[in-house]
């Protein structure tokens, strides 16, 4: 087997294997990235016009999930005026926002996106969206890169910075352990105002629309989370600008002013965050497979070209050398005929010495070039 044959075999094997990788990659992309819209999934509707900021949901969450006791007790309602964020120890927090001069309380927790950005960012595949609507995190493969925390458009996942060994990401689990037992999530059960309504996501959208229609002027005409970031399981209703309400049906665009004041980002678009990166991330396996073949091939071609050029050069040099030797030989023979063998012998010796000196000079020059 010569070199060319070997390279040919290697190349075709590489293409075949990379094709295989591409096929599996496409399959994986369809399975892991694009989550189907689960019709039967559950969600929670958070009606901020009902929320009184009592922090019972925080307490309920803490108990239901055996989280560590907070520094300040749940009866201390002053903390709501700070802009708190969810963390590894507090999976839900209630903050007070001043909307057009009036206090409005909003509960923060994982929104359980229909197509979660955290899952799209996680290369260890720790996150998944379940058919019941829950976005779960399973940390056995977690490497602690915290890409999920950067990817989340709601800044929800928290990290166990205090954990020296194997720190994990922590976030609201939708109390999945309670859901499977037929119980409500801890926060929903604890809410004394039904500001949190649990139900099938499709029902909740209907309920929210009914509330908006039946109470003109009470709500902004917008269900936050119905479409935002591709739709979320947890959705928010926000109060209208003035309690009396405008008699006109409110333009959903007007809701932005209110929602922004409640720290609800209205610029997330109506497509999942992950869609922005699926294309680029999906190409990663292809790059892994193709680059060795591509660059290996390029290297081989260059090498071969160099070898062929050297061969041609050598042939020319050899020919030239043979020509010179033949010419010199012919000249010496002629000398032998005219001047006698003594002269021929001298001429040969002189020729050999001259060639040797020249070769030595050439070798010296080459050496000099190299250094």
């Amino acid at each position: 087997m010569n070199r060319r044959k070997f390279l040919t075999i290697l190349g075709s094997a590489g293409v075949a294997s990379s094709l295989g990788t591409t096929l599996t990659a496409t399959k994986a992309e369809a399975g892991a990235h694009v989550f189907p819209n689960y019709d039967e999934s559950y969600g929670v509707l958070h009606d901020t016009t009902r929320c009184i900021g009592c922090r019972r949901c925080e307490e309920g969450c803490n108990k239901a999930n055996d989280l560590p006791k907070p520094d300040k007790p749940f009866s201390d309602l002053s903390v709501t005026s700070q802009r708190r964020r969810t963390s590894a120890d507090a999976w839900t927090v209630v903050n007070k926002y001043v909307v057009d001069g009036k206090p409005v309380f909003r509960k923060l927790q994982c929104f359980h996106c229909n197509d979660p950005a955290c899952a799209s960012a996680c290369f260890a595949k720790c996150f998944s969206k379940l058919p019941n609507g829950v976005v779960t995190y399973e940390g056995s493969q977690c490497v602690g890169c915290r890409y999920c925390m950067i990817a989340c458009p709601f800044y929800v996942p928290g990290f166990e910075y205090d954990e020296a060994l194997d720190p994990l990401v922590q976030k609201c689990t939708f109390c999945e352990h309670r859901l499977v037992e037929g119980k409500l999530p801890g926060c929903v059960e604890a809410c004394p105002m039904d500001a949190l309504t649990f139900g099938r996501r499709s029902d909740l959208i209907r309920i929210a629309r009914a509330r908006i229609n039946e109470n003109p002027g009470k709500y902004v005409n917008y269900i936050y989370g119905e479409e935002d970031a591709g739709g979320t399981a947890w959705m928010v209703l926000a109060p209208a600008k003035d309690g009396k309400g405008s008699p006109l049906p409110q333009n959903p665009i007007d809701a932005g002013h209110t929602l922004e004041q409640m720290d609800l980002n209205t610029h997330l678009g109506n497509r999942p965050m992950g869609e922005l990166t699926y294309g680029a991330l999906g190409a990663v396996p292809m790059i892994v497979a193709f680059w060795p073949v591509l660059f290996g091939g390029a290297y081989a071609i260059t090498k071969r070209r160099e070898a062929m050029a050297k061969q041609a050069q050598d042939a020319v040099v050899k020919e030239a050398h043979e020509d010179v030797v033949a010419a010199v030989d012919a000249a010496v023979r002629k000398l032998e005929e005219t001047e006698g063998p003594g002269a021929a012998e001298r001429a040969r010796r002189a020729m050999t010495e001259a060639l040797k000196a020249r070769e030595a000079e050439a070798a010296h020059a080459k050496h000099g070039e190299d250094s």
Binding site: I52, L77, C191, P192, D194, K244, S246, P247, P249
Partner: protein, 316 residues
């Protein structure tokens, strides 16, 4: 003669009643002069170009100009063009070019009226609904919405003209005198509903179905009803529109037929989420939403919403 006495008594009572009714009818026959010089009351017919408009199936409305002109700032509140003419001049059943094709039905009932640069027109319903914002009204009217059924329509649509009168009225041919006579007769015949006395309800209620972390609440039912009743007892609008004796009860005892013995909150609101009615608040939330909603509407500052122990003491 025991039966005879009874009969005699009944006869006397019947006579007294008739006399009284006749007297009151005679007294209320005229409403008195208006400041504007307009007719004190008038029946508003569904005026139409058609001989038999569909709206003729509905009873016409009597409009008491005297009461209304005292309640509004100036004439332009209703006469939004500045010209004191009848509504039906421009707003006919079908709508006409003069009234920008706003139909009579819309002109009287619309609540989604686009704001104008100046002098936004009002409909009867939109102006009356604005009254809900008054403190004494806002409590109940922020937690409950009147069901728009036949009773709701009949409060205003209560004139019973003869077929001849109806035909004349729809054609716009009825004379002012006849119209006034019909209007005054309708107003005179109207008897405002006498609300159920707060005394007929319970004095206090022990709300304890959910007592767990907190002790049962002792709800001062009579005090609450009496305070609501006190605030509106002299209000003409409330008298006119709280058309049934039990109307006031329906603020809290909502979504059930009017009754002096309405169902309890727990009859419909279950203690746990009802999967068949996920939109229905659970019992705990129903209490809180109702109590806090009304208190907020009436601007009752205390107790604060998060002062749990003010209404129910923590359990020992």
């Amino acid at each position: 003669m025991r039966n005879g006495t009874k009969l005699l008594m009944l006869a006397v009572m019947a006579l007294a009643c008739t006399a009284c009714l006749m007297a009151s009818g005679a007294n209320a026959a005229s409403l008195g002069p208006t400041d504007s010089g307009a007719q004190a009351a008038q029946v508003m017919f569904p005026v139409s170009n058609q001989p038999n408009p569909t709206a003729a199936g509905m009873k016409p409305v009597v409009f008491n100009h005297l009461i209304h002109e005292k309640a509004v700032e100036d004439c332009t509140t209703c006469h939004h063009t500045g010209d004191p003419q009848s509504c039906t001049t421009c707003h006919t059943v079908e709508g006409s070019g003069n009234g920008n094709f706003v139909t009579l039905e819309r002109a009287m009932h619309a609540t989604n009226i686009a704001k104008r640069a100046e002098n936004t027109p009002q409909s009867c319903v939109s102006c009356h609904e604005q009254q809900f914002a008054r403190r004494e009204c806002a409590g109940c009217h922020s937690i409950v919405k009147a069901e728009r059924g036949n009773d709701w329509c009949a409060v205003c649509h209560n004139v019973s003209p003869t077929p001849k009168q109806m035909q004349d009225g729809c054609a716009g041919k009825m004379s002012a005198e006849e119209n006034l006579k019909l209007a005054e007769a309708t107003i005179a015949a109207h008897q405002p509903a006498q609300p159920i006395s707060p005394m007929s309800g319970p004095l206090k209620l022990r709300i304890g179905a959910l007592a767990d972390k907190y002790q049962p609440n002792l709800f001062t039912h009579r005090r609450h009803v009496a305070s609501l009743w006190d605030a509106i007892k002299d209000d003409k609008l409330a008298q006119a529109f709280h058309s049934k004796p039990e109307t006031l009860c329906a603020a809290c005892h909502h979504r059930s037929p009017l009754s002096a013995t309405p169902p309890k909150c727990g009859s419909c609101h279950s203690t746990t989420l009802d999967p068949a009615n996920p939109q229905r608040p659970t019992l705990k939330a129903a209490y809180h939403l109702q109590c806090m909603g009304c208190h907020e509407g009436m601007k009752v500052e205390r107790p604060r919403k998060t002062d749990c122990a003010t209404c129910h003491k923590p359990a020992q």
